[in-house]
């Protein structure tokens, strides 16, 4: 992923998150840390360039995301059971908008399906990814180029 798509992804995420789940990003240039083992999802894309967009988050963020998308209370068991699905769908929407912004509407792009990431991938993603702070919860947005 080129530097400009990184910028696009970081720029797209807050507005998509706000519109999808009414959650808000705080400005943070700090390197954050997860306080618990996070969940990671990735979606592959293919077009003028190939790669993965990857998203890591803790359970608190995921529960809030699912609850707000579904109009439920955060403690509702239904929100907890759909938290991984909600994280994948958020990444799907972010990536769709990133690709259009980066490559234009006329470019033919293909997107894969959300897939869970092995915990072992976190170390590399932390090195190359960018942190976002969403209502006090750390979220890591990362990427991998594929050839």
């Amino acid at each position: 992923m080129s530097a400009s798509l990184v910028t696009t992804a970081l720029g797209t995420f807050p507005s998509i998150l706000e519109e999808t789940a009414f959650l808000f990003c705080d400005d943070s240039d700090e390197v954050l840390q997860f306080q618990e083992p996070p969940t990671g999802v990735a979606i592959a894309y293919d077009g003028p360039e190939r790669g993965d967009l990857r998203l890591w988050a803790q359970s608190g963020f995921m529960r809030a995301l699912a609850a707000n998308m579904l109009g439920l209370e955060e403690g509702d068991p239904a929100a907890a059971s759909r938290r991984v699905d909600a994280l994948g769908e958020l990444l799907n929407i972010v990536l769709g908008h990133c690709l259009t912004e980066r490559f234009g509407e006329s470019e033919s792009m293909r997107m894969g399906l959300p897939r869970p990431l092995p915990f072992g991938d976190l170390a590399i993603d932390q090195d190359v990814g960018k942190w976002l702070l969403v209502e006090g919860e750390p979220v890591l947005l990362s990427w991998r180029m594929r050839t």
Partner: protein, 127 residues
């Protein structure tokens, strides 16, 4: 007259969020059927009367574009209005779907009001 709508999306979260949006439309709904991909949708369409299909594009097994193509090639299904709800914004795909005869294309994320307006346009016109 109450309507039956088929929602096709591999995300359970999106399917349930759409059901909420449908309830805001205040159209007389008989039933909201759900499928996780195009194959499941075609199975339902073989056995159930459906007034409208709202489908995602990017799904496992059979995606939305293939679902629309299959419906338009089937004389018994070709008249059912199909709208698309997707995060994909590529013009080529939207043009192909429009040429196949979809009645609307909404880009995720979309507000419940946009869902309501689409339902009113497609189904409300029949009341």
């Amino acid at each position: 007259m109450a309507y039956t709508v088929l929602l096709v999306d591999d995300s359970e979260t999106i399917r349930e969020a759409m059901v909420r949006a449908f309830s805001m439309a205040k159209l007389p709904m008989d039933e909201i059927l759900r499928a996780a991909n195009g194959i499941e949708a075609l199975e339902i369409l073989k056995t159930r009367w459906v007034d409208m299909v709202l489908t995602d594009i990017n799904m496992p097994t059979m995606g939305g574009e293939d679902l629309v193509r299959a419906m338009k090639a089937d004389a018994e299904l070709s008249d059912i209005p199909v709208a698309v709800l997707s995060s994909d914004g590529s013009r080529g795909r939207i043009d192909r779907l429009n040429e196949m005869g979809i009645v609307g294309y909404l880009r995720k994320p979309c507000r419940p009001e946009a869902i309501r307006d689409l339902l009113h346009t497609v189904l409300g016109a029949w009341t």
